[in-house]
């Protein structure tokens, strides 16, 4: 695990110098090209993949966020 990345990504304070670098939508993957795939975990701790989810449906709506 990259401890520096972990602490920068999971920043402890909402201050511009900490959250600003993560607002990177302009460099996100383009529409129309294959989407990047990643492992994800259900709330039961079972590992799955994003591609497993999107293959299950005609279209999949994916919202990103957190409690806060």
């Amino acid at each position: 695990m990259d401890e520096d990345l972990l602490s920068r990504y999971n920043y402890d304070s909402f201050v511009p110098e900490k959250f600003g670098p993560w607002l990177n939508f302009e460099n996100s993957p383009p529409l129309g090209e294959p989407a990047p795939d990643f492992p994800l975990w259900t709330l039961d701790g079972e590992e799955t993949r994003l591609s497993t989810v999107w293959k299950d449906h005609l279209y999949t709506i994916i919202e990103f966020g957190s409690f806060t």
């Binding site: 449906h57 994916i62 409690f67």
Partner: protein, 154 residues
């Protein structure tokens, strides 16, 4: 967003929520330091905030979230082929539903035999701003979250 998921489920539309990092960490929901804590916060999202869609937890380093632009509350729509057809840097139910209706119509036209080719479009959508509700949400996280947001944006 829960209502949209329910409304279109029988038309082949799936919906998931990917748990990322704490955008506004506070005393009640501090920044994440372990997967155990991340699962706990994600369960609270389901149990206390009522997210009924399946919640999937990203890795602690946000590998998936970062690859998709790491905005705090963005939404993407991905087709079964693995091709993203919609992305929005903020989540707005009206915008998402409008897009889903469009893509379901594309599917119907394709099934009817229309020869369709994709093209790119950019559009500026609009959402309702509700500062009062937003601050109420921040209060759940703890006073630190309220104060830091006020300091950053007023």
């Amino acid at each position: 967003m829960n209502a949209i998921a329910e409304r279109y489920a029988d038309q082949g539309v799936g919906a998931v929520f990917i748990y990322t990092h704490e955008a506004h960490p506070g005393e009640n929901y501090p920044h994440l330091t372990s997967m155990e804590q991340k699962f706990r916060h994600a369960r609270d999202l389901r149990d206390k905030l009522g997210v009924t869609r399946p919640i999937l937890v990203d890795a602690l380093d946000g590998a998936c979230h970062r690859a998709y632009g790491s905005m705090p509350n963005m939404t993407w729509i991905i087709a079964r082929s693995g091709i993203p057809v919609y992305k929005s840097d903020w989540t707005d139910a009206n915008s998402v539903e409008n897009a889903i209706q469009y893509f379901l119509d594309v599917t119907a036209r394709r099934r009817a035999g229309q020869p369709l080719v994709p093209f790119r479009v950019e559009r500026l959508d609009y959402r309702t701003r509700d500062r009062e509700a937003f601050y109420k949400g921040l209060e759940r996280n703890g006073p630190k979250a309220v104060e830091e947001f006020r300091r950053a944006f007023g």
